[in-house]
C-alpha cells in the first residue's frame, strides 16, 4: 500500500504556470514538500497532490525537481562521496542565486 502511494505522481506548479510531475517519494526528499504533501494533514496540497510554488520560476522548479530526483537515486548511503556524479555541473550560474533561496525554503 505504502509503495503504491510513494510511486504515485504529484504535480509541482511554478509561478509562471509550468507543471512538473514527479513521483511522490521524489518530492518528499524536500522537507517542506513532504510536510505539504503529508497524508496526516488536510492541506489542499495533500488532497489534490498538487503543490503551487508561487515564488519560483519554471527554470528554478525544473532544477529543483532534477536535484530531488538525483537525491532520490543516489542518497541511499551505499555510494561514497567520490563516486557521486557531480551535480554542480548541472547548475547554471544564472539560476544559482534563486535556486539557493528555493533550496533553503524547500529544505533540500
Amino acid at each position: 500500500m505504502s509503495t503504491d502511494k510513494d510511486n504515485d505522481w504529484v504535480r509541482l506548479i511554478s509561478a509562471d504556470g509550468y507543471s512538473f510531475l514527479v513521483r511522490r517519494h521524489v518530492a518528499c526528499r524536500s522537507g517542506t514538500l513532504k510536510n505539504m504533501l503529508s497524508m496526516e494533514s488536510s492541506f489542499s496540497e495533500a488532497v489534490s497532490n498538487t503543490c503551487t510554488m508561487k515564488d519560483e520560476r519554471g527554470a528554478v522548479v525544473e532544477r529543483l525537481c532534477e536535484y530531488l530526483q538525483f537525491k532520490a537515486i543516489y542518497d541511499n548511503g551505499s555510494l561514497k562521496k567520490e563516486e557521486l556524479p557531480d551535480f554542480t555541473e548541472r547548475l547554471a550560474p544564472e539560476v544559482a542565486l534563486e535556486l539557493l533561496m528555493a533550496a533553503d525554503y524547500y529544505e533540500c
Binding site: F43, L64, T88
Partner: protein
Amino acid sequence: MSRRNNVRGPTSALTEFLRESGITPTTIARRATTQAQVQNQPDVGPSNTNADQDEVAEPSRMDEDAEDYASDNLDEHEEEQSAPKKRKLTKAAEAKLKAKEKQKAKRKVGADDDNDYEEEDPYNALSKMWKGDLPKPPVGSFEECVRCNKQFTVTKYTLPANPPPGYLCHMCAKASGADPFKKPAVPRKRKPATDKRSVVSFEERRFPSLASMCIQVISKYIDDVEALGDIGSINMDELAKSLARNRSLTPHNAQLFYDIRNTRLTMYDATNLDPPALSTLASLNPNLTHLRLDYCGRMDDEVIEAWSTSLPNLKRVELLGPFLVRAPAWQTFFKSHPALEGFLIVQSPRFDLECMRVLAESCTGLRELRLEEIGQMSDSFLEHVESLAGHLTHLALSRPGIPEALSDQALIDLMAAVGPSLTHLDLSGNINVTDAFLFRGLKLHTQRLSSLALKNTPELTDAGVAEFFDTWADAAQNAGYTSVPRLTSIDLSRNHLLSSDALTALLRHSGTSLTNININGWKAVSQESLKSIADFAPDLRKLDMSWCREADDWVVQALIEKCERIEEVKAWGCQRLTERCPRKRNVNIYGVEAQ
C-alpha cells in the same frame, strides 16, 4: 640487498633540479671527503703532531656524521671504531684510495640515473646513501679488495667496506669483525607512512544539499556578475539569510552584497570574515549608514579603526560579539562618528566605563543604545547613559557581566532621566530589579514605552506586577501625560513567581495592543488566565507559554480561533497538550511533545 627498486619518495623542486644536474647527497658527501683530505694534506709536512691530530680528528668526525645517519645499522659500530687507525696507514694507500674514488665518481655520474632510485623514503634513504656508494657488482665478477688489494670473486656474501667505497674480500670482511653470513637485518616493520598520516577521525557522510551546491556555484562565479544573472530582482536580504544558515558567507562571496551605493548592510553570520575582509567591507561600501553584523567575533582593533575612517556616514551599528575590540579603539571610533544614532552591541568584556563616557560625550544624538552582556557594566555607566536623556528611545542594558551590577536605586534614577522618551526598554538579567523599580521607575517616568523586557528578574512578585499594571494607566493620567503607555511587546519570561494575577492585570492594561507575549516559565499561571489571553489580545502574533503547566489544548484552541493574526505559539514543556492539539495553516506551534 635490493636497493634498485623504482620506489622514490617525494622530493622538493630543488632536489629534483640538483638530481637532474647530477648532484645528489652521495656526490656531495664524496666531494666533502676528498676536499677535507686535500686540505689536510699540506699541513701534514711541517708538523707531524698537528697532522696526526687533524687526521685523527677529521675522519672520526666524519664517522660520527655517518653514524648519525646510519642509525638503523647500530651493529656496525666496532668496525667504525677501527677506521681511524686504518686511515692513518700510509700516504700511498690514501692516494690510491683517492684515485679510486675519483674513478668511481666518474663512473658514478653515468650510473647516477639508476642509483638515485635508492631514496625510497626520505627518512631512511640517507643512511643507505652513506653506507654504500655503488650498486654491488654482479655476483661472479671480479673485484679488488680495498683493504688487501687482492682480487676476489664477488659472491652473495661479499660485504662493502666500511667506510666506503669499495668491497672487502671474504678474509678481510671476516677480519673486520662483520659476519658475512649474517642474514640482513629484517627491516623493522613500520606501517606505511600513508596509513599513519591519514587518520580518519570523522567522516562526513552527508549527502550534499542543493543549497550547498548552489553556494559552490555562486562562489565559483562570484567575480563574474553577469553570469549570475539579474541580481537586482533578488531579495538580497533573503539571500544573506540563506548563506548565513549554511554558515557559508566567506570573504570571497561576501562581495555579492557589496556595492558603493549600499546604505544598509546586514550580515547574519560573519564568522568566516577575518579582519582584512571586514576592513574591505568598509572600503567597498563607503556610504553605509546602517550596518549590522552577527557573529563578528573576529573583528578587532584594526577593523574598527578602519571603520573610523572609511565609513563616515555610519549612523547605526549593530554588532553581535565584537569581543576582541579594545577600549581605545572603541573610543577612536566614537570620536570619529559624532553623528552616531544607534550603537548596539552584545558581548564585550573590554567595553569599559571610559568607552561609555566617550560614547555619551561624542555621540550626543544617540537614540538607540544596547549594551548587552557587557562584562564591566556597573552603576557608574548609568550616569553617562543619563546624559543621553531626551532623545534615547531604545535602551537595553541586559545581562550584565555581574547580575547584581546595576542597583535598583540607580535604575530608578536612570528612568527619571531617560524614561519619558523611551519606547523600548530591556533590563533582563538584572537581578536587583524589584517591584519598587516598577512603581518608582517605570510607572512614574515612562510615557511612551511600548516594548518591555524583564527576563529573569526574580525579585519581581506576582502581586507587585499585578498592581503595577492595574495602576499604570491611572498614574499616567494623574501625572498629566497625554497618552497612556500601552505595550505591544512584553517579555517577562523566567520569572517563576509571576502568575495569574500578573497576567490578568497585564492583559487588562495592554491587551488590545499586545502582539508579542512571552510568559515562558510562569509555572503556576492558571488555565483560566491563559485562556483569557485570546479574549484580551486579539492582535496577538507570537506567544511563548512554555513551561506554563496548565496550558492545554483548549488554550491553543482559543488562540487559534480568536487571534486572527497569530503566527507562532511556543509550548515547550506543556505536558497537558495532546496530539489532538488543534492546528491551523500558517500557525507554527512548537514544542508539543505528544505527537
